[in-house]
Amino acid sequence: MNSDVFAPWDDPQAKPLIQFRNVTKRFGEFTAIDNLSLDIFEREFFALLGPSGCGKTTMMRMLAGFETPTEGQILLGGKDIDPIPPNKRAVNMMFQSYALFPHLSVWENIAFGLRRDRMPKHDLEDRVEEMLRLTRLEKFARRKPHQISGGQRQRVALARSLAKAPKLLLLDEPLGALDKKLRQDTQFELMDIQEKTGTTFVIVTHDQEEAMTVASRVAVMDQGQLMQVATPDRIYENPASVYVADFIGDVNIIEGRATSVGEDTYQVDWAEGQAPLTAGSAKNFENGQLCHLAIRPEKVTISAERPADAVNAVQGKVHDIAYLGNLSTYHVELANGTIIKAQTANTRRISRRSFTWEDPVWLSWTATAAVLLAD
């Protein structure tokens, strides 16, 4: 393994910064977090991803100290943080609403936490100036929060939470209030700042693109449980379940029955009168077991004729075309009514497009393109 790659989660010697040990959190009858264990390492940019109500914000609030686990332990640097109140934790949080103090200037907002630590005046001024430079806010230091734009407020919130140099920075939907273009720029800014400061970031988001862009690892959550914890590429290429495959990006799911045809290779019978599909899988399936074939639209090739060497090929007609500018997604309806999406890059001008509505087409993909999932 290349030692330059940052992957402490693959190193059995590495000591995690944060450990969730069988943590359960209940609010009355409702179980928000269900017996969850998780390790997060130093310098990681860790994303908690899931739909609203999946428990990701509860995880963050437990780390910040605003909620305590009903059962289980959370360790920070090997120590149980349960008895430590939020104001004594070396953890800072950037709130979704930014929670900037409206009666204080940008400068005073950033200095707020440092003043609580009774930092000497000179050091405090240096630290605030440093934070202002880091977030490019020098010009706005004297303004009040309501006198600056949303993107600037977001940076003030970040500067304020970073000022105390926390061991761990929590970001609760940090970019949710920004428009798409600004959000994309800010994502890269966040990554830069994370790298520069070397702080461990835990970000909560429901935006899968955001999680994929910024994070070193992503935890996909649903109903208080971790569905999969892995690097963005693994989550995308090797989803552990249909839920994860469906949640991250676009996917075609074909249900069928598996039959082993060789080492780690299976045939999937999926419809009457259709040739079986071939897919590789490291996981074991019994003959006749129900399985789901997940395949990303960009891995499906669309052509007028059946490609001669195609392992998997199905015929259908173009039902719909979603034109996205750089890409086009073709919704192809098969004879039995199944719709399969195929995505191609628009390398030619739209007037030269090869296919249009109702055209008969062939869809094909390789044996390794699809992932076979049990549930």
Binding site: N92, M93, A99, F112, R116, D117
Partner: protein, 296 residues
């Protein structure tokens, strides 16, 4: 044209209901007392034409205002009113802030009920409520009976007809005016601000003083003015609950008008009172404006 009409409506309203009565009072304050109906001279006589108007103006003088400075009853009454107003405003804030804070932190479904409870006393006449306090505070009143019964005291406390009774009456009567503006500023405060303060190292108490109090400042200022301005001129509470020792300008004013029937001096007292009140009213307006700008 339409705009002119729209703007004219509030101005005509102000002119008819504020400026006209004000000038009548101002005119009386410049007149002399007389045994007549109305009890002052001169009165404007249009039948005499231009000469009558000239005659009328020549009789007006500042005699009554000079009188106010000569008799120390008046400036003592003004001073004492301002003192009582300041102290009772402070006491009302002390009682009102925790109530407003409790209301704002109460569960959402409880808040309308709590708000209702604050406003509920307005459903009974103010005068009747002050009389009720006489029943509570008198030597044989409920409060003394309760304290005697529990054995805390052995002889009844004299509360009625003292300044203490006046303070109790004022704090009770004006409490809603303090609670409501503070509550409204606390209620719209974002709860995550307190969490952010704690996250950045504040204890609960520090977060309260550094975040909650500064953010409720507009409400505190509004509440204080809403209490202080009417209390300076308050007449009913000192005359019903206070004794001879409680000197307030509202009471002096009432006595000049109705006991002495000296309308010109009473009007002069009223004009000076208005001038005193202009200062806090202007400050109050500026506070409201500043807040509106901060919100906008």
């Amino acid at each position: 044209m339409r705009r002119a009409v729209l703007i004219a409506i509030p101005y005509v309203w102000l002119l008819a209901l504020f400026m006209v009565p004000f000038f009548i009072v101002l005119k009386i304050s410049l007149s002399d007392t007389a045994l007549a109906i109305p009890p002052y001279t001169p009165t404007l006589d249009f039948s005499a034409g231009w000469a009558g108007i000239k005659e009328f103006f020549s009789q007006l003088d500042l005699e009554n205002f000079v009188w106010l400075t000569e008799d120390d009853l008046y400036w003592k009454a003004y001073l004492s009113s301002v003192k009582i107003a300041l102290i009772s405003t402070f006491l009302t804030l002390l009682v009102g802030y925790p109530i407003a804070y409790g209301m704002a932190r109460a569960p959402e479904e409880w808040r309308p009920t709590l708000m209702m409870l604050v406003i509920l006393p307005f459903w009974t006449s103010f005068l009747i409520r002050v009389y009720a306090w006489m029943g509570i505070l008198s030597n044989e009143g409920y409060l003394n009976q309760l304290l005697l019964w529990t054995g805390i005291i052995s002889t009844p406390l004299t509360i009625l007809n003292t300044s203490t009774a006046v303070y109790i009456g004022i704090v009770y009567t004006y409490l809603p005016f303090m609670i409501l503006p503070i509550y409204s500023s606390l209620e719209r405060m974002d709860g995550s601000l307190i969490e952010a303060a704690e996250d950045l190292g504040c204890s609960r108490a520090q977060a309260f003083w550094l975040v909650t109090v500064p953010l409720s400042k507009p409400g505190i200022i509004a509440g204080c003015f809403l209490v202080m301005i009417p209390v300076i001129g308050e007449f009913v509470i000192p005359s019903l609950l206070g004794g001879s020792g409680t000197l307030m300008i509202g009471k002096v004013l009432w006595e000049e008008f109705f006991s002495n029937r000296d309308w010109p001096v009473a009007s002069a007292v009223a004009i000076v009172l208005l001038l005193i009140l202009v200062v806090p009213i202007v400050l109050f307006q500026r506070n409201q404006q500043k807040q509106a700008e901060a919100d906008g």
